[in-house]
Symmetry: C2
Subunit: 252 residues, 2 copies
DNA sequence: CCGTCTTTGTGCACGCGTTCACAAAGACAT
DNA sequence: ATGTCTTTGTGAACGCGTGCACAAAGACGG
């Protein structure tokens, strides 16, 4: 169900806040860069700057993992890289399938950031028979008919959906039925999945719309001296609505 | 110093919560679908289901925009589409440039979700001279040398960065210097921008890492003697990432 | 015009996430 | 050893977002 809001039983020792989990990859990237430069240790202040976050937040995040720092010195880079990698489950191999090999699917197949972090593209799947056998990023595209077999043969538990919106739910259902329990969805649709299946979505147009909102606000504030209370009349109907409150002045 | 003071006293009268703004595009999509089916009105319950959120949350979100519903009936679909579009700033044209026309950049150029929402790809820019003039998605690629001129000539305020990580900051600086005030960053790097510039980032590998974390936890709980038979030992379900909102503006 | 029924709009409480501020811990010099 | 100095780890306060539950608003039928 789409409304699958759930409570976190707060697994005692293992309860790492979701917000922290989302930042761990960020820290890992910064640490990897330091590691490549052979930097032995790093302070929370320095690492926080590199990751673009507040240092107190970083320390609290790390505190959920354990006490891996040394007071007066900082954190051992190599050790921390290992600990975070382990926590994120990147020390093991994650076979991944990408369904929908259009422009985006092909881009994902070619994306280098996957392989370097334990993610292995096990298969590329597309519904177009003409694509079958054609290699993309060195991997031959397979037909959707074999989806279930591919999932099972490779022990895939993570699937990436890059199909058109119309096909997404159907593909999702088949992936889940075949054993996939984590899905990264690029299709602009709300996916319905049974409990126990994680879905994360990336919607390019949504990100742009959020930027547009802020952009519009910036333009409005700039053009206007200062927002006056603006009685929310809002009685205007569509069609040439003469701005209820926020004068959508838009310079071309 | 380290404290990223990005919060200006603004957000006074017209303060729509960031979390709400992030959901508006979601509602808009669901409403557009209803509009195409010529559905005249919709209740908060129905719309919430279509958008994959809680109905109370949806009503509260709309309440920030104004009282656009009719008790006992619901919301007028067309009217709401207009109101949300206006609020998001989608009633105007937003010229966008995409920098870095590799696999991902090309995919973005071809992405249909942009044009349908007021975003117009004004130009494609790449550093490779061999790409210059070559049409991608019907638009000729231009060379990075002309970046500033392109931005100014087209009045571009939103830029999309799809370059390799190494080039991202430099491209970002040039975009900002040329007048861009909103950036959608696909490069796996933390961008430094001056105050007043919004950055949203989309990192494919980070999303996968977050999934891997939950996947590992699922496997672990399953393998271990389940300490708590708690009915809802429940892992998250349908957890659509509200992902970070505003980007870290780090001080130089 | 009045009663009933549906659905909105929101006051309120709760929990998560962020930030501050500081005591504790350890390195390092003397 | 002892003192000083740096940096971690965290208790506590605060603010935001979420969800419940209900009163107010309006449609609709009689």
């Amino acid at each position: 169900m789409a409304t699958g809001r759930t409570h976190r039983p707060a697994t005692r020792s293992r309860g790492i806040p979701e917000a922290t989990v989302a930042r761990l990859p960020l820290y890992l990237r910064a640490l990897t860069a330091l590691s490549e430069r052979s930097v032995p240790t790093v302070s929370s202040e320095e690492l926080a700057a590199a990751a673009g976050v507040n240092s107190a937040k970083l320390r609290k995040d790390f505190s959920y993992l354990g006490s891996y720092g040394t007071r007066g010195v900082g954190y051992d880079v190599e050790y921390l890289v290992y600990q975070i990698s382990r926590e994120l489950g990147l020390t093991q191999d994650w076979p991944v399938v990408i369904v929908g090999i259009g422009n985006l699917g092909a881009a994902l197949a070619n994306y280098g950031g996957f392989a370097s972090r334990g993610f292995r593209v096990a298969a590329l799947i597309d519904a177009d028979p003409a694509m079958a056998g054609k290699p993309v990023a060195g991997i031959p595209v397979q037909h959707t008919d074999d989806l279930e077999k591919i999932i099972e043969d490779n022990g895939v538990s993570i699937g990436v959906i890059a199909t058109p919106a119309g096909a997404a739910q159907q593909v999702c259902d088949r992936l889940v039925a075949a054993g996939v329990t984590s899905i990264l969805n690029f299709a602009p649709t709300v996916l319905s999945v049974p409990e126990g299946v994680d879905v994360r979505k990336v919607d390019l147009s949504i990100e742009l719309q959020i930027l547009a909102f802020h952009e519009q606000r910036k333009a409005g504030e700039e053009a206007l001296p200062d927002g006056l209370p603006a009685a929310a009349a809002a009685t205007e109907s569509a069609d040439q609505g003469p701005d209820g409150d926020v004068p959508a002045v838009m310079p071309a």
